[in-house]
């Protein structure tokens, strides 16, 4: 009985090993690999949005695209090595936590193209994809201030890291700018750039926390809330939807599309068009005349539509506000308005 089992086992082992090693190798397609950070590809945030860009490239450009999830810090290099060994043409890493490993691989594989979301330049063959989210957050803050009836707007984050906080910084500055322009006194709950601290739920998982924090905000009189915490924000949207007399501001993508069930309470969304940046990067690499990144980076701004805000819910703000927002957008592009980046960086020193 046991002997037979052994024979069977070893047979299975041998065959599976033989088959397993045959994997890999793609046709003439451009091979693009994406390495997520620990949130995984279904984080409802930057991993998901970046993957959307790759998916679009698969559909529209006919590339061979795939992703590898990371569960722990040491997985990044493992996954990068996996793609390097598969001789991927472009490797996209998502999140600043992968910067060190990306830099390392980029220097060792100068012929491979890399792109990293949320981090700046790392070398000639790496394209940094960064976003001036404060600019978009500024517009959202301005719109929020215009939309509030209670004079209080709120925001909170998952964990206090720069890519999260920068949304909140722009938001606060936008509200203040509105106050300045309209002589109002709209208050921001949940973030203070000067203190570099605010309301954080401490994770990107517990949607219930998002709901409870939203309820507390509403009880304290806020009627616009911007959650910067991945799926936790959907808990906020649910709370606001049930209450009905407040607004949510989506982040990363247009929530009226990605979370359509909440579209009635979504004032607008702060767009961080990572998918566009990723898609553009893939497209550039696929182009016939592509000659390497040569240290060229991508900074998503209002100017190049790398960041922006989604259309504002109709009737939510007074009629003139859209025009004002257009003007502000132009002023930001022209560098006439401070969106808070400088002060925020200073507070980090």
């Amino acid at each position: 009985m046991l002997k037979k089992l052994w024979v069977l086992l070893s047979l299975v082992l041998v065959t599976t090993m033989l088959v397993g090693c045959g994997g890999g190798g793609a046709g003439g397609k451009l091979k693009v690999g994406m390495v997520t950070d620990m949130g995984g590809v279904d984080d409802k945030s930057f991993n998901a949005t970046s993957w959307k860009g790759v998916q679009r490239a698969i559909d529209e450009l006919g590339i061979d695209g795939s992703y590898l999830e990371s569960k722990q810090q040491t997985d990044y290099a493992t996954n990068l090595a996996q793609y390097v060994n598969q001789e991927a043409d472009l490797i996209i890493t998502v999140g600043f936590l992968l910067a060190d490993d990306t830099a390392d691989f980029a220097s060792r594989y100068p012929d491979t193209n890399f792109a990293i979301v949320d981090f700046g330049s790392l070398g000639d063959n790496v394209r940094g994809l960064t976003f001036s989210t404060d600019e978009a957050g500024f517009l959202a803050g301005y719109a929020a201030a215009a939309a509030t009836k209670t004079g209080k707007v709120a925001t909170f984050g998952g964990i206090n890291i720069p890519t999260v906080a920068i949304f909140m910084v722009g938001y606060e500055y936008g509200v203040n700018y509105y106050n300045q322009q309209h002589g109002t006194n709209v208050e921001v709950l949940g973030w203070e750039t000067a203190a570099n601290d605010g309301v954080f739920v401490g994770n990107f998982e517990s949607t219930d926390d998002g709901r409870r924090v939203a309820e507390t905000f509403m009880n304290e009189g806020a009627d616009v809330i911007m959650p910067v915490a991945g799926p936790v924000g959907l808990g906020t949207a649910q709370a606001v939807k049930e209450r009905g007399n407040a607004w949510v501001i989506g982040v990363d993508t247009d929530w009226t599309v990605s979370a359509a069930e909440y579209k009635d309470v979504i004032l607008t969304s702060v767009l961080k068009n990572m998918d566009v940046a990723v898609f553009d990067t893939i497209k550039a690499v696929q182009a016939d005349d592509f000659a390497g990144f040569n240290g060229e980076n991508y900074v998503g701004t209002l100017a190049n539509d790398g960041v922006g805000i989604a259309p504002i819910a109709s009737g939510a703000v007074p009629a003139g506000i859209s025009d004002e927002l257009e003007q502000i957008k132009a002023d930001i592009i022209a560098g006439k308005i401070n969106t808070g980046w400088a002060e925020y960086s200073a507070s980090l020193e």
């Binding site: 206090n160 409870r212 924090v213 507390t216 649910q238 049930e242």
Partner: protein, 414 residues
């Protein structure tokens, strides 16, 4: 005589503790205030049916002094005469301290007390259900450390089945079944196979995390329609919901919240006043004794552990069907473990578990309010607070809580 002197010494210690609290209020909160500052506590909630009672605005320093005087008075009385219910008075003094903290934090600002109490209860719901699950299992001497996994399973199932059927009750029922199934797995391992119960629970946690995450990434994420369950609507109870403060907090809730409150009461009554409860407690304390009187120890344990699993499943379903209307990986975020701590803190009684969970819920909602009021404590430290509270509570205040005598021991027919 010796025993008496020890008692007086303890009484004196408590008196000093109360005075220290008073001194802390003076030192910590008073210096940062000015005479012109005013604190506002609001009590009305928007959209609630409760009769409005307005808000309370008072001088910050005045409020602080009042609370300090209260604590000093209680401390002095304790030193001089001593209270019979020391722990009750301790509660009052701690409450005074928290109020002083809030008075200080909300200086030149306002805070909605009713809102905070409401958040306290709602945040306590999943923790209480987790703790109740623990009570059910441990009262018959099966340790359940797999509550977290059972909750996750319940949450996942309720999201999936709720979405498929678009019926909250079916979703809830599915979560109960899934939780019960996980409970049955624990029961079989603990009772039939006599596996170390903590290890069995750990296995359930790992397995449930893996299964829910795996199926979530295979199905729920790619097909959003599978992750759009309906939710329970609020059912304000007639008349009761119009009472100020109490109405919005207690009587304007969804069915699972009422269900939780009813479960606490029912399990408490069942445990201490019915045949099932008597047998359960006997099995947890002295299974042989129960066995020799013809009580089926194994059956009692199977039933209780499966029921415990169902309650944990309900806790998961609450998060989905009564809170956020979707499942996300690891969305329980440690509530099962906090519930376990609440069970111990509550001394294995349902009402105690509720009380302990409310303390955790309060710590949670308090830190949100404090962060909104821009208390200059880094958010990370505010986030640590509930865990620190748990440790302090376990180490000091409850001292040695006594679990059911046979807790964790598999029963063998001799």
């Amino acid at each position: 005589m010796n025993e008496n002197s020890k008692d007086t010494r303890r009484a004196r210690t408590w008196g000093i503790v109360f005075l220290v609290f008073a001194a802390l209020m003076l030192v910590l909160f008073l210096p940062g205030t000015t005479g012109s500052q005013r604190t506002t506590f609001a009590f009305d909630l928007e959209l609630s049916e409760a009769l409005p009672i307005g808000s309370l605005t008072f001088s910050t320093q005045g409020g602080l002094y009042l609370l300090v005087v209260l604590a000093v008075f209680l401390g002095a009385w304790q030193l001089a005469k001593g209270f019979k219910q020391v722990y009750l008075i301790l509660g009052v003094v701690v409450l005074a301290f928290v109020l002083a903290f809030l008075t200080w934090a909300a200086r030149d600002n306002s805070m909605n007390m009713t809102g905070m109490l409401q958040a306290t209860l709602l945040r306590a719901v999943p923790i209480t259900l987790a703790a109740l699950s623990g009570v059910m299992c441990e009262r018959c001497a099966v340790i359940n450390i797999g509550i977290e996994g059972m909750m996750l399973t319940g949450a996942f199932t309720s999201a999936l089945i709720g979405s498929l059927t678009q019926n909250v009750w079916v979703g809830l029922f599915a979560a109960l079944s899934a939780g019960g199934l996980m409970g049955a797995l624990l029961a079989v391992m603990a009772i039939r196979y006599k596996v170390d119960q903590i290890i069995a629970g750990t296995a359930i946690n790992i397995l449930a995390t893996g299964l829910t995450s795996y199926f979530s990434s295979r199905y729920l994420q790619s097909i959003p329609e599978l992750n759009r369950p309906p939710t329970f609507v609020q059912l304000p109870l007639p008349v009761l919901s119009r009472i100020p403060i109490v109405g919005p907090v207690l009587f304007t809730n969804t069915a699972p919240v009422y269900l939780m409150l009813i479960l606490v009461a029912v399990i408490h009554v069942m445990l201490f006043y019915t045949r099932w409860g008597l047998r359960t407690r006997a099995v947890g304390e002295h299974p042989q004794a129960a066995d020799t009187l013809g009580v089926n120890v194994f059956k009692t344990r199977y039933v209780n552990v499966i029921l415990g699993g169902m309650i944990a499943g309900l806790g998961g379903a609450y998060l989905v069907l009564s809170s956020v209307a979707r499942f996300d990986e690891n969305m329980t975020a440690g509530r099962g473990f906090i519930g376990l701590a609440a069970m111990i803190f509550g001394k294995w009684s349902p009402i105690g578990a509720l009380a302990a969970s409310l303390i955790f819920g309060f710590a949670d909602s308090l830190r949100t309010n404090l962060a909104i009021l821009r208390v200059p404590i880094p958010s990370q430290f505010l986030l640590m607070a509930p865990y620190l509270v748990t440790m302090i509570v376990l180490a000091g205040v409850v001292g040695r809580a006594n679990p059911p005598a046979a807790d964790g021991q598999p029963y063998e027919k001799q």
